[in-house]
Symmetry: C2
Subunit: 455 residues, 2 copies
């Protein structure tokens, strides 16, 4: 779908006030496409369109919209109508929408919702929104273990339709709602209708606990690759289920955090949503900590350079190669960190393989360092007509790049050993370390071989 | 599961040669846990364990293993046994396993597989493995539109069981296998048994084409959030389906590529799998191109510095602040790039919002730059007892950081406008640009205000 073309047509329909045509056109789009369109339209245009949708379509669309747009659109509607749309949402989506509103606003809606619905949503709102309890949908289809396949199928026909339950697995529970077994729809549909649930259910259940945090939930889903997992409380009582589309959103958030952290943008203090847009001060706060650590580190580098003040005064030309050495050391070191940090998060790198990776990266650093050292030597020689300077810069380059890969590989392993998240701390620390050590090596080489030699 | 504890117990069982106990123990684990365990064990231990699994469990496990381990384990088995395990795999998994083998090796297995199975796998192997055709599972349950719900349910009971078909949606096709409609299992189970497929099927079908590439497939799944999508050929004939667990793997690969590219590790020339381990030369090739571009860029920076050779000779102390300016400019600029590049891939940043983001980042850069500039001025003043030098370095710092955020935000937008992937090109280019421009500003400030003033 070309959003801007569709938006142009929709705008024309709005201007012409041909509401019937517009309503028909909007109804013909998939809600995911409508969400794209709504992101593109201006607020007043969105509202006109939203009011033309029937309640079911409006509820479907709400699930695909960003929290900001959800609150914006529902807030503009008559409260009665908004409540009706919210009632059409799955419980977990309703809780998400209401959780994003101001407290008094969400109270207004909760009071207007059907009592059972409102009660279940209220319970969801008591859970931390980053835990399984806050993410799960409490509306789950349960059966008892002594039902036959035939009975289960007839239960589905009546209960699932009425409760708008998502269907992936059927959960077998006892009278107190303790989770006893899981039956996949596939198993249900391919088993003889006279079989009992207890005959076809799986008893070794992969499940989540209401207090499990989102990063753990993502890991479990990625590992076991189920479509949905049951969520239980401390006493194994079934509280709800989490489906893969919830996890996709979590997974995307986790990835964003991982990428942000790799460039020293903290997602611990400020929520990841508020860094890219919104209040500027939030963005400043998220970005300051690691910049400040870099500042301190770079003052160390300045100090190291200052120790070689005499060298610099004797041969000022050496200063011009500082950015070259720091830049390439920083780049290749960052590559090594990136590979290790990503490897940890996909599971391809473990603490056991530390030595292998450190040695492997060292070889890579040395190979590339020798090539680049030679290039730098030749270029400097040809350009400054100073073969000795060229050789020193070239050697410094080779040492610098090798050292950068080793530090870049070693640091994530060291942090991981002490249970510090390598994604958080590696980047800025290493860029500075490479500046400090790289410059010390370079100036030492110059002092020993060029200055003494010249004097 | 604590893998190392389990592995210790398994090793003891292997040493004691208590094969019955070991087989029972292994059979009690979920195949995802077995995969973790197999990753942890030594090759010879893995093989002992693998041989003790029954064919079904072995096939389940194979699906969770890395391509390297799949080939390793099957290669060690008797060909007859390996073929039997491969026959138990879904067609797409079998094609993946055989596609990772040497051609003559996979031919041996293909010849030993049942003819229909082997033929379907051969067809899968003709598709590019990064396209929907290479990813899909051809085994799909199809029905005709004039069947009743009751007939469909009985078809499922017989056909799905036999063919080991995954069940998410039922696809309605005509005699020539053209895709006409989709029925979800939920809809099927909640509809009256006398209804016709044509009454309950969805006709506006979200589908994939056999030639669609993996990045597009990931986008479609993320947008529409379906569990499975049908794959059709040019003439809308149903060829297979792709399920969300296939997409999870693709999504993880895409994320890895995005993260690698952000630090200048190319995944265009060398496959992303081969960068972290395997042949060292592949890793060197993946990392060289951007390092080389950085090298050229940094020589530009060296050249800029060289233009101010007279300034450096007159006041060598200014050289020691070079890493400080370059380091912090580079860091804050990288933060801006990271935010924009990630924003493009999640859809939170679009070309329309360029001006907003550039201005917003400029404000952030200016705020942080002023704070850091002040800090640097005070520190330098207190340390070098030179208030003028302190002020110049502080001003250079503020300008440098502001400029870094602007360049870091502008460049991804500019690249995107020309349809160049900003993830690929931004990082190394900008680090260099900031070095070049930042140093030019600093040296100019020094020349104008310090040197002329001093002279």
């Amino acid at each position: 779908m070309n959003v801007s073309n569709v938006a142009d047509r929709i705008r024309e329909l709005i201007e012409d006030s041909t509401n019937d045509l517009l309503a028909e056109e909007l109804d013909s789009y998939h809600e995911a496409d409508l969400a794209d369109l709504f992101n593109y339209l201006k607020p007043e245009e969105r509202l006109v369109c939203f009011k033309l949708l029937n309640y079911d379509k409006a509820a479907d669309l709400i699930e695909y919209l960003t929290p900001q747009l959800q609150v914006e659109l529902l807030g503009e509607l008559d409260e009665e109508i908004a409540s009706k749309i919210i009632t059409k949402l799955p419980h977990d989506a309703a809780a998400d929408v209401l959780g994003d509103m101001e407290d008094d606003e969400s109270e207004t809606y909760l009071d207007k919702l059907p009592e059972k619905f409102s009660q279940e949503v209220r319970e969801l709102l008591t859970y931390n929104e980053d835990t399984a309890g806050g993410i799960m949908n409490p509306s789950v289809l349960t059966v008892s273990i002594d039902m036959t396949v035939k009975e289960v199928l007839s239960t589905i026909r009546t209960k699932a339709e009425k409760d708008n339950t998502e269907l992936y697995y059927i959960y077998a529970v006892d009278k107190q709602n303790h989770l006893l077994g899981v039956v996949s729809l596939r198993k249900l549909l391919t088993s003889p209708t006279t079989k009992l649930v207890s005959d076809i259910m799986i008893r070794d259940i992969v499940k989540l606990h209401v207090d499990d945090f989102s990063d753990y939930i993502v890991d479990v889903f990625l590992k076991y690759q189920y479509n949905a997992l049951p969520v239980v409380d401390l006493y194994n009582r079934l509280k709800g289920m989490i489906t893969w589309d919830d996890v996709h959103d979590l997974f995307e958030e986790e990835t964003t955090e991982e990428i942000y952290q790799s460039s020293g943008i903290s997602t611990e203090i400020v929520d990841e949503d508020e860094i890219l847009s919104g209040n500027v001060m939030n963005a400043v706060i998220a970005r300051l900590p690691w910049l400040f650590i870099t500042l301190i580190g770079e003052f160390l580098a300045v100090n190291v350079a200052n120790c070689f003040n005499a060298t610099l005064s004797a041969l000022p030309i050496i200063a011009i190669f500082m950015p070259l050495l720091a830049g390439l050391g920083g780049n290749i070191g960052t590559q090594s960190i990136t590979l290790m940090v990503r490897g940890f998060s996909t599971g391809q790198v473990t603490l056991n393989s530390a030595l292998y990776h450190i040695l492997r990266e060292m070889v890579i650093g040395l190979l590339i360092g020798l090539v680049f050292g030679a290039l730098v030597t030749l270029t400097t020689w040809g350009w400054q007509h100073n073969v000795e300077l060229g050789i020193i810069v070239g050697i410094a380059m080779a040492i610098n790049m090798t050292m950068a890969t080793v530090i870049g590989t070693f640091t994530p392993f060291a942090l991981k050993t002490f249970n510090i998240d390598p994604a958080v701390a590696s980047g800025p620390i290493i860029a500075t370390a490479i500046d400090v050590i790289g410059l010390a090596i370079y100036f030492t080489l110059v002092s020993v071989f060029l200055i003494n030699h010249a004097i």
